[in-house]
């Protein structure tokens, strides 16, 4: 079931668009912000409020890279794996993250602290390699910097 806050926010979005379906991405963003990810139940709940089929909502939810259809940890690490970061050695960061967190891409630490995901170009190529943790961008990082960075997130 959607919470009162989620319903209020989605209702607000519905006032901005000419047809209800057009609020689909915004609705997914709203629910994900509250729950970290989009469950099957959330897909069905959003479908009801937007008068869409669950399949239609899911087709949108599964299309976008940053809508999570599986549970994620409290913090999501998005490691840039695109070309400038490849040249500048993002794979060293990947290895170090694997060593520290004992997880690979798409996995979450058992304490639900971190989920590690690869991500396409973060648009900061003159400071490669780069990664984001939640809303924070880290640039020009070396594998040795990672432990200290991760300590900021609980």
């Amino acid at each position: 079931m959607l919470s009162a806050i989620e319903i209020e926010k989605i209702t607000h979005e519905l006032q901005q668009v000419p047809v209800k379906k057009a609020a689909c991405i915004e609705a997914l963003k709203i629910v994900q912000q509250e729950r970290r990810w989009i469950s099957d139940e959330s897909v069905a709940d959003i479908a009801v409020i937007l008068e869409m089929s669950t399949a239609e909502v899911d087709s949108v939810a599964t299309f976008y890279n940053l809508i999570f259809r599986q549970p994620v940890g409290r913090h999501v690490i998005l490691l840039c794996d695109s070309i400038s970061c490849y040249v500048m050695g993002y794979t060293g960061l990947r290895q170090r993250l694997n060593e520290i967190l004992l997880i690979g891409y798409g996995q979450t630490t058992p304490d639900e602290r971190f989920t590690l995901l690869p991500n396409a170009c973060l648009g900061t190529c003159d400071h490669a390699p780069a990664l984001m943790i939640d809303d924070d961008l880290y640039r020009d990082i070396q594998p040795g910097d990672l432990e200290q960075i991760l300590e900021k997130y609980h």
Binding site: V19, K21, N65, S82, S84, Y86, A120, C125, D126
Partner: protein
Amino acid sequence: MERPLTQHIPDNGAALHLREYEAVGGYTALRKALRDMEPAQVSTLIKDANLKGRGGAGFATGVKWSFVPMNVPGPKYLIANADEMEPGTFKDRWLLEGNPHQLLEGMILAAYAIQATDAFVFLRWAYKDAAREMRRAIADAYTAGYLGKNILGSAFSLEMQLHTGVGRYMCGEETALLNSLEGKRATPRAKPPFPQVSGLFGKPTIVNNVETLCWISHIVNNGEAWFKSLSYTADGGTKIYGVSGRVNKPGAWELPMGITMRELLEEHAGGMRNGYRFRGALPGGASTDFLTDAHLDVKMDFAGVAAAGSRLGTGTMVVLDDHTCPVGFVHNLEHFFAQESCGFCTPCREGLPWTEKILWSLENGTGEPADLELLERHTRLLGPGNTFCALAPGAMEPLQSALKYFREDFEQHIKEKKCPYAHHQH
């Protein structure tokens, strides 16, 4: 050397806020246009200046605007494409974070020219600072009367919204962007009808790149002759060029359109890092053909780069050095394109993962001589005219040129049954 787009952006990374923007002449172009110019005069001015789109395709902006039907009732839309996601590209971020009102003023002027009723900034999710600055700038512009009903007391009204995306390269393609803004999957639409006639929610719509829109106020203020005089070549204006990779000073610079690749690399990017040699570069993002050291004197404008067999694209160069495997480099690109294909048309959905797998087999030592022919066949079958949009043809540009310029590397992988580069990174 004039740097109209970036001269007022503070060096410390802070944004220029409304009062500071006004203090350096901000919104004078909007006042001038609303007072002295008909919408058609703004369009004509941009057409005469021959401003070409800075998003990658290089289409003439004024010509694009001229396809919008005027004198039709109902909503019309103006959209800033700020979904910068071409790998190796980081130019619009600078403009968005540093001078948000320059973009807004350009958007309001563009909206006036096509008589749009609503405007959207379609911003990439990853640009958190830009989102914060754009949100503030839009609110400040409303308060100051530059947005909303009867802008600056004129008959022109415009509403503006910020939309932050949820991540998909396809959203940069303008018809896919429209689908995404309608809450749908970002798959491209058939053209015709073109968005200028039937775009967002079926209404006339213009989608322009951020850097393109940032030019409008300057051209309105200073005229077409001034715009053309900024450039070294026939394509007017300055361009934001960037360089990433193993150079001494990676970065972005606003420079006259048409500087040479050599000048960009050596004078601005500081040359190659000690111990690294230049082998080639993608001149304008992931979906452009490689240029090599034989092309260092190529002028970096639309015609110059095209004559050398590539495209200016976004003008942000990714450098391939001699310690980086060209096969691995292209594998990384094809992995990106395969992942970001929307899956709507078969050649792209099936062909891109296939090229990715072949390149991976070369990298892990299981490649065969016939693989090169197979890769070449893909560059033809996924080329222009065979797919629904430009994603797959763009993906084939670095591959076809790598096969041409770095063929010995491909052959060496097959012959030695391994990647010969020490740092073999994936």
